[in-house]
Symmetry: C2
């Protein structure tokens, strides 16, 4: 491999690396918060990299964006108000807005440059940004949640980078406590929770922090995400109300297109691997 | 990345690559059939590489070996006779022998050196090789199946390398036809079928060849496999009898340990992603 022809993300803890062959670097900049790069790859379309970590590719982002939104939105009985903390590429926002019940979806990413670059290099992810129900804020999501009034949101989706740098505070008990306080009766947080093969300890700490912040119901979902470390990713839902059921009939008759998600995939994502059940006594 | 410290598998078609940091190379040899390498990695234990492709690591082989065996064995009503074509590392054989119904399990790998190296570097995968029900043959699996009598086997597991080189004939209509002829009434073939993200065309061709060889029931299962391209792997079952049900109650009460597989994971693996359903009109 000629290093100049490849982008490589090397994961220090796991001593593994994933590489994509690139045609060229399209852009790079140091924003006020992070180092942003955009590559044109050979077979994955465009690739956004933040602080050296792959964030989103044209080819495979559908796994992540669909699984960060549809399972939670089809579990909540009637999600009207959704906040996306992070999510600056707008892909999660686009999926959320596919749900007719949603009246107001606010994307709160601290770094406006991520969204401005997504508009140029991932226009298909930004195509719902003009929806009258959508609002884009470029402020500190942690502060936003901390200052929010009780009962001001139904679902908070934490679509953040890894728990280092600007996103570190999004993995803390204090943050989950603030989420709990501003969520409505059936409110829930869904957060990307890394790889169960590589980051089991982090998932355990996250689940512990969510429970101690008051959430009585937890659910970790599993799905493929090829460009992320191990290729196998997870999201964890923390809910005030039971997660035993989701709106299966409506999911089975979803009035919008998806590439990965469907009602069977939703059920499948809830299956807990044997080692995961043992680790958390599920 | 210092190339001398990493093993990298580069997938030409997808222009992506996966790397593991290595402590040292433990062994290499050119067998009569393939080039075999064994590495000691930093965090994945030992790694076997055949003709440049990762085959098995200590850390994550459980996904593949469990999902190549337990779904098929819990779908067949009473699997007594199982053949494993390929599978020289003996990991699939070990999983198959966990089923009490199995009276005779034959592993047929053309390359004895794979098994001899597994005995040294993956002893945990070989710990059932002395089971009186196990038989290891080092002959051509294609020829073995072609010459077999009708009704001589219940499940054929094709645990092969990729469809180039010695394994190419294992992905052909002629081979599936020979399997059909020697399988019993409820007989089935289960074969690793690569990544649905990278190799959808190959899966389609395989399913087509299986159907035209006479198998009336097909099922593709999905599971993580971190060291394989895309991190998301599949197996395809071709069966003479309906695949609509499996022995769920027995799977829920399996009398043996697994690391990934359980009854919920079995159901989950059967969920077909939306793009896969569309590709094959499922």
């Amino acid at each position: 491999m000629n290093p100049s022809e490849w982008f490589t993300e090397q994961l220090p803890g796991a001593d593994s690396a994933f590489s994509l062959k690139i045609k060229k670097k399209l852009h790079e900049e140091q924003s006020a918060f992070q180092f942003l790069e955009i590559y044109e790859t050979e077979t994955f379309g465009n690739l956004m990299v933040i602080d050296g970590c792959t964030m989103v590719s044209t080819r495979d982002n559908f796994f992540y964006h669909e699984m960060m939104s549809h399972p939670a939105l089809y579990t909540h009985p009637n999600p009207k108000r959704v906040w996306i903390i992070g999510g600056g590429d707008c892909g999660t926002l686009k999926e959320v807005l596919k749900h007719d019940s949603v009246e107001h979806a606010v994307q709160i990413d601290i770094d406006e440059r991520v969204t401005r670059l997504a508009e140029i290099y991932f226009p298909e992810l930004c195509e719902s940004n003009g929806d009258p129900r959508a609002e884009l804020k470029f402020i500190d999501g942690i502060k936003w949640v901390k200052e929010a009034e009780p009962n001001s949101v139904d679902i908070i989706i934490v679509d953040s980078t890894d728990p280092v740098g600007p996103a570190e505070g999004l993995f803390s008990k204090a943050f989950y406590h603030d989420c709990f306080n501003c969520l409505s009766e059936h409110g829930m947080v869904v957060q990307q929770s890394e790889s169960a093969l590589y980051h089991l300890k982090l998932i355990g700490e996250m689940r512990g922090a969510m429970a101690s912040a008051g959430f009585g119901h937890l659910q970790t979902l599993f799905f493929p995400q090829c460009i992320y470390p191990s290729g196998w990713w997870s999201a964890t839902i923390a809910s005030k109300a039971s997660l035993a059921k989701f709106r299966e009939l409506e999911a089975a008759n979803k009035p919008f297109d998806t590439t990965y998600y469907n009602v069977d995939i939703h059920r499948a994502a809830l299956a807990q691997p044997e080692f995961f059940k043992k680790a958390f006594s599920l």
